[in-house]
Symmetry: C2
Subunit: 512 residues, 2 copies
């Protein structure tokens, strides 16, 4: 084994942003497409997204939500009905104005002036308006409620500064939209979705998160309340990894989602929406990546185990491959994390060490290297990606009898899942500091290049101009309020911003 | 049981087009979205699409093709590189010209003139150009070939006349794109994809198809050869339900997909592309629907079995529901068509007969009605949707002991799948007529309101102007050439169009 300590050219502690880009590239997750702000998601990155989709979709369906598909395009008139909503999104939307091209006078193609749309269409940045129009057709009576739909779709927000997975002009997501008879029922659904996201992030992505309510200045445009899951990245910054919104009756009034109640009266429905996106993959990278590349939690790894035969281009290769194929079949018949084990026998030509490094960078949970002598002796050599490396690199490979490994493969995968979560949770917990006054907050975040983590502070929950003053003070420190925990824990102490009696805790952090 | 013979207001034989719209609506498959040419795919329709996706995706992955995701937007300059391609598509594309909206002078929102894109973006009608650009980055050496990728995505073609599922401005599809070292390898892949589609259509959709090559005038813009699967609808018209294209080196030359061969020379790759879309659902409706609505083949049915308890709002309902839940659990533990049985216990309030008709119209393969007496006696009452109705309607319900039904449920589902195929294949075979001369062809298609099926004729495979003359003669009869079978069967006889010696058979039909 080569003695390379780090497979990447940049370490996390030296330049986290550069390290992130290198992992995205070296793990072959995604690349720039040449189309402004849009990425190409490559097979390894898309394979992780497919795993996320499959497992999240199971949860969504289990909650009684039905998948549908709604149009990519939204007529301007739909969009303009909800004033706050359009104010929040109008600055960053792709607008379709023509439906045909013709040859231009200077060569090339230009939009055909004869084929100008009477009403321009917006490429959906989110679908409340167009789904609201459908709900208005579908909801007549209280018997039609709750109405719960979801779609897996692409959306476009014209971001000026983009970063792979974290902020791209086009991204993939799911958006759940529900309509309810009253506030109480809608709030239950809003919080159910939030809890689904928390459990998904922690269970499937092994990414600990804080659930809570966003402050009023960070609400989704048009929402009455916005809740989020917030994850701590390894640079101490916060990533909003999923949101759930209680929309009140505002969107129902704009779209006309009305129902006849049990007494025969006409009522507006209370709606919610909630979504997670390919951004989660950025969170996964910045939670679990190390200086050798990505580490993918087994539950969302496209391959959980890769078998690497040490091929030598000799006749003995046949016996080695037969041994590996036998092992592959035995592993594929096992169950881990409630599903069949996903195992790949990598028979491609190429040097074994190069292939090993490619899989280390991609973060496949378990790598099995098998040479001719292993095959002859009924052995495998196992590398656990979450434990790479210690000082004596070779010790990372554990020699095991083939049948012993087969019997414990599922246990190893489940242990990796648990270990990755424990490691991230310990780091997160060690990097949240309770801070009692504004001066201490300034001191905590004083060093500009490194982020110490999150501050947990007590505040008086100001609103309007008072909140805006707090937001501006934080902005000067490049900080934002992440969310207010929902645990309802009583607080004692005064607000770090206003000095008034504190009412709740909030997390304050730098963020993506 | 109500004695209604037909659940729809229109019969197929009276107005097939109207019948189709009514099935789409009454089976709650899709509806008009209010956005020009775009539909909302509702839960039952989308559930069928999810089944199609899942099973097609398994086949695509089994062939070694990797899923990726490429941008929605294509810069005009990419698109303009392949001359035939742009010629074929430029007339029907949505063009994004601005990235921001502002308040208009007359109120409302308008595209911000300050935010006009320097280069307009096209909403992808298909992705050869943008995927070609990625392939040009990914392919350097012969070792990188074949390169085989696929994406599940939405695409937009600005169709003037749209029909749900069959032709919509936005539709969902998968598009496979592959690059190969030479023509031979690319042709193998082109035909592999075609055969995958044939087998999928016949196995999963129970929809018999004819595979063959399209005539030169019907080729995909820029393709060297286009192959299709063609299905016969119940009105005798043909539906192109999937295509596979050998693109030669044209797209590789436009995008610069070059590789170094084993001798060190630079070569252009040979590329292919192939796709199926939500159009398949239109084909499924027009293949299997009857005068009571849709009949969904079990392999793609979101629910294969629906249990309908005859609830009476009395205390006895509890025992009935317990009995039904027990049955549901026993059925869900069975396997049919290689997967766990998908069974729904429909506990919603409402009249049992109304609920039954809703499921009949949706085409769920098996309906189980269970009343209090059935529950007490350990019985179920089974309705096979493919056999609805005979003269004595009540005879359609078969009374079975619960355990007997559980034991034979998988067999019933598999038999329904087979029966639907056999019924469609028999109809198709009975409605293809060999026709020997043009006068007979005219006579065969003379009646304008009803379509007798397809004509199988011999031709001399003219090209260029000679082909165009044939196309125009057929167009006068509202006919098109569907495809040339690939069976390579020798033909004897002369061309029905030119009188020259025939070289192959073609299918001629009216079409969607």
């Amino acid at each position: 084994m080569s003695a390379i300590r780090h497979a990447l050219s940049v370490k996390r502690e030296d330049d986290f942003a550069q390290w992130y880009q290198e992992v995205v590239s070296e793990a072959e997750m995604a690349e720039d497409s040449g189309v402004r702000g849009c990425m190409v998601i490559k097979p390894w990155g898309y394979g992780i997204w497919e795993r996320i989709q499959r497992r999240m979709d199971d949860r969504i369906k289990a909650a009684g939500v039905q998948n549908c598909y709604f149009p990519l395009f939204i007529p301007l008139s739909y969009f303009a009905k909800e004033a706050d909503h359009v104010e929040g999104f109008a600055k960053e939307m792709a607008v379709v104005t023509h439906h045909r091209l013709i040859a231009g006078e200077k060569g090339g193609l230009v939009p055909d002036p004869e084929a100008k749309l009477e009403e321009p269409l917006v490429v959906r940045p989110t679908s409340e308006t167009v789904i609201g129009a459908a709900m208005a057709r579908w909801v007549q009576s209280w018997r039609d409620l709750p109405l719960m739909v979801n779609q897996w779709a692409n959306v476009v927000r014209w971001e000026m500064r983009t970063r792979m997975f974290l902020r791209t002009a086009e991204f993939l997501w799911q958006e759940g939209h529900t309509a309810h008879a009253d506030r109480a029922d809608a709030m239950i659904e809003t919080l159910r979705a939030l809890e689904m996201y928390r459990d998904f992030a922690e269970t499937e992505l092994a990414m600990p998160v804080m659930t809570g309510e966003k402050p009023e200045n960070e609400r989704f445009p048009g929402a009455v309340a916005t809740y989020s899951i917030e994850a701590m990245m390894q640079d101490g910054k916060a990533l909003q990894a999923g949101t759930s919104h209680y929309l009140g009756t505002g969107f129902a009034e704009a779209a006309g989602i009305q129902y006849q109640d049990r007494e025969g009266g006409q009522q507006y429905a209370h709606t919610t929406s909630w979504g997670v996106s390919t951004r989660m993959i950025g969170g996964l990278i910045m939670t679990h990546g190390d200086d050798d590349g990505l580490r993918v939690p087994p539950m969302v790894a496209p391959h959980q185990i890769v078998i690497l035969p040490m091929l030598r281009d000799t006749p003995e290769d046949d016996a080695l491959l037969a041994y590996c194929e036998d092992l592959r079949r035995a592993l594929a018949a096992q169950q881990a994390c409630g599903e069949p084990v996903r195992v790949l026998l990598d028979k491609r030509p190429g040097k074994a060490t190069q292939k090993r490094w490619a899989w280390v960078k991609k973060g496949v949970p378990l790598i099995l290297e098998i040479g001719g002598r292993d095959a002859a002796g009924g052995m495998v050599s196992m590398l656990r990606r979450d434990r790479l490396w210690n000082e004596a690199a070779k010790a990372n490979f554990v020699a095991l009898a083939k049948d012993d490994f087969t019997a414990r493969a599922a246990g190893e995968l489940e242990d990796i899942q648990t270990s990755l979560y424990a490691e991230a949770a310990a780091r997160r917990d060690a990097n949240i500091a309770p801070i009692a006054d504004f001066a201490a907050l300034e001191a905590f975040f004083a060093e500009d290049q490194r982020y110490p983590g999150w501050a947990e502070v007590i505040w008086s929950r100001p609103s309007g101009d008072d909140l805006e003053a707090v937001v501006q003070r934080l902005k000067a420190l490049k900080l934002t309020i992440r969310n207010t925990p929902l645990d309802g824990e009583a607080v004692t102490g005064s607000c770090v911003f206003t000095g008034q009696p504190g009412v709740e805790r909030i997390y304050v952090a730098r963020s993506y």
